[in-house]
Amino acid sequence: MSHNEHEEPIPRTSPRRLAKMLAIIIGIQVVGAVIFFTHYDYWNSYLPMAGKIQEGLITPGGQPPPPPPPGGKTINVSLKFVESSDFKTYAFNAISGPDNNPEIHANAGDKLVFDVTNGGKSFHAFAVTDSKEGPGPAIEGTTIGTADNPMKPGASGQATFVPSQPGEYYYICAVPGHRELGMEGKIEVAPSGGAEQPSSAEVKPTGNKVEFTLSFVMSSDFKQYAFNALPGQTGHNPDIKVKSGDTVTIHIKNDSKSFHSFGVVVDPDNSSATQQSRVQTIH
């Protein structure tokens, strides 16, 4: 070190500079805290895609989940939160009379779509629950608003509920106390089935064995694909008719120039896993 450096005065930190530095640090922290706390519910608010896929909320392609299994019908229910003028009785749709808290009947697998409006003057929150009393717990995905973040008067929203198990469910107001004042309606869910549902009983094998032969064919311009013959020719995509319980063997030959893979589905637009599992596919 050289002694020349002592010729100029040694600058040292000062309270002023310290104040500036602290103002910068604390300022950044305060701004950060304001951003953090004003969006407090946002930061941890949704499941990752992988979790949604696991929960069956979406499919891996990012599409909404497949519609409910065959037989599931969509039932639209519109409900309105109403209050008596003295605020002592709360209900859905009407304080009294036939419209009061309508009972809903459905089968397991049906899709119930609730259109809910807050027609009262208080805050309310809609939920479906299987608990016989109290404000919940709500079944996931059936809520519109929560007790902490309720629907304001005049607000409306939509919720869906697909009961997988038969039993008694209730649609309620999830704000504590409101269910006890009368905001509660019953949902009776019968086992899935009924007339339109195919029988789930096992079919006994008939012992019949039938065999078919199919081949993949393609037009020379690769624009038309078919089985056995191109569209418009005889033998194009033949129907195969068999009896329940038959053992069906299908021989497949790839006569085309592309790669193909053979499979059997129940309904191409609506393939249900339970039905598919009873078809044994042999390549």
Binding site: M1, I10, N44, S45, P48
Partner: protein, 514 residues
């Protein structure tokens, strides 16, 4: 002359400077600011655990998880790494006799990634724990917090890769030609070692973060068992980075002690060669022991033995450092100013932490201590007892050179006693808690387990003492920066030697001529 104020400049000129002492100042202040922020979180956790079954202070488990997650991430990535980079920025160019870092602009870019990464970590306040193990972090950890954490860590990882490249080039290529590498001071050697380690270790974690993100988006399934992935793969990728990272945190602190111990013992270093050897050894061995974090994942016996031996191989190298320190101090005229106190305290606790580590690495014992408070105590004894002690020692040492003023020795003494006492009381007790079977990362525990209650309360009181000592540290910093005694810039600690001093930095305003 004085590093921060060589020529008094507006604050914004320091903030957007590329000179190594300015970037160093930014790094150091950022590191210290995050140290205090994460310390507050630690005190919240400990205070909460003082009262079993009552949910005091932290009302729900998810918030508890978020707090210890951000505490860990902040202490490691926003205090330990930036602080070491800060001191490295101050000293490495001076030690290799170069005018600045090799790439000054890259240096500033690497620093400015820290506040951005820090903002992402703190705004999201994720709940994955700092390790973000799959499958929780893939399937359940709520967004956007966990995604922000992934991006934040990504940015911090790139920052540390950039600063590592800068250090390696500065030391190896910009070193003065008259200075042989073996004579480069050991602090610069420690920075060289950890920079090379970072360059080898970090890519694995960088890759696993991307895989974690794509897994979360549902487009891949590397670590997602329901998509055919393997969570253990994440552990391997993670610990391949983070066991070496333990040494990346540790070695700069050891390097700082190598700066302080000879100077305050007023004696030359006992052995430069053994220090270099031990650094390089630890740098290599650091890569041979990641599996000891995973003994209980069903590894086969041979693999476990290999990792156990790899872990134990760190003992001789660590011992070389300790003996080097002791031999340097032996017979010296030691002046126990604050930096020396913290350095020696750090050596003592380094030895204790290392002893616990030997037990840990023995795999039959590891099955008992795995996932318990023993591990928490062990790793905090390293992080607080050695790394933070070394960093605090260096902060006190650099204080007069940065500010031109002297810290208050009285407040520093209180800080030292409180920190030493607190560290021992919290983290030794946590070892015992682990042996009593208390699992780590739990929100609450039954009040009927009286031994847990007692040990937790002892640990919490220790944490209050530790936290209280840092109040004195903060008060000392703030008071002394503003009104501290004017330091004697030739020899602020009255050591009387002819050593070089860190304020001999070249003109910090060289960049203004562009």
């Amino acid at each position: 002359m004085v590093l921060e104020l060589r020529k008094p400049r507006p604050v914004w000129q320091i903030m957007f400077s590329t000179h190594h002492t300015d970037v160093a100042l930014l790094y150091t202040i950022t590191g210290l600011a995050f140290l205090f922020m994460a310390g507050v979180l630690a005190l919240m956790i400990r205070t909460h655990l003082f009262f079993p079954g009552q949910g005091i202070l932290i009302s729900d488990p998810a918030t508890f998880n978020r707090i210890f997650t951000v505490h860990g991430l902040t202490m490691l990535f926003l205090f330990a790494l930036p602080f070491a980079a800060g001191i490295g920025n101050y000293l490495v160019p001076i030690m290799v006799r170069y005018k600045d870092m090799a790439y000054p602009k890259l240096n500033a870019v690497a620093f400015w990634m820290n506040p951005i990464g820090g903002a992402l970590l703190w705004l999201g306040f994720s709940d994955t724990s700092w390790v973000s193990y799959a499958p929780y972090s893939v399937i359940r950890a709520p967004g956007p917090a966990a995604d922000m954490m992934i991006f934040g860590l990504k940015i911090l990882g790139i920052s540390s890769i950039l600063s590592s490249i800068n250090f390696v080039v500065t030391i190896l290529k910009c070193k003065h030609p008259d200075l042989p590498l073996r004579q480069v001071p050991l602090f610069a050697w420690s920075i060289l070692t950890v920079s090379l380690m970072t360059l080898v270790a970090m890519p694995s974690y960088a890759a696993s973060l991307i895989m974690l993100l794509t897994d979360r988006l549902g487009v891949s399934g590397f670590f997602n068992p329901s998509a055919g992935g393997d969570p253990i793969a994440y552990l391997h990728l993670f610990w391949f980075t983070f066991h070496p990272e333990v040494y990346i945190f540790l070695l700069p602190a050891i390097g700082m002690m190598y700066e302080l111990i000879p100077r305050f013992s007023r004696k030359p270093l006992f052995s430069q060669a053994s220090g270099i050897f031990a650094f390089v050894m630890l740098g290599l061995i650091g890569f041979a022991s990641w599996g000891h974090h995973m003994y209980s994942t069903g590894m086969d016996f041979t693999t476990k033995v290999v990792f156990m031996i790899g872990t134990l191989a760190a003992v001789p190298a660590s011992g070389m450092h300790v003996f080097n320190f002791l031999a340097t101090m032996w017979g010296g005229r030691i002046r126990f100013a604050a930096p020396m106190k913290f350095a020696v305290g750090g050596i003592a606790l380094f030895f204790s932490a290392g002893a616990g580590g030997v037990l840990n690495s023995a795999m039959p014992l590891d099955f008992i201590t795995h996932g318990t408070y023993w591990v928490v105590g062990h790793m905090h004894l390293f992080l607080t007892g050695t790394i933070a002690f070394g960093f605090v020692a260096m902060a006190y040492y650099m204080f007069p050179f940065i500010t031109g003023r002297m810290y208050s020795e009285k407040l520093a003494n209180i800080h030292f006693v409180g920190m030493m006492w607190g560290t021992v009381q919290v983290f030794f007790t946590q070892h015992l808690l682990g042996l009593e079977g208390m699992a780590r990362r739990i929100y609450d525990y039954p009040a009927e387990y009286t031994s847990w209650v007692e040990l937790n309360q002892i640990a919490t009181v220790g944490a209050w003492i530790l936290g209280g000592s840092f109040v004195f540290f903060l008060a000392n910093l703030i008071y002394s920066v503003a009104k501290g005694k004017e330091a004697n810039m030739d020899d602020p600690f009255g050591l009387g030697g002819k050593y070089y001093y860190p304020y001999q930095a070249k003109n910090p305003t060289h960049h203004t001529g562009y």
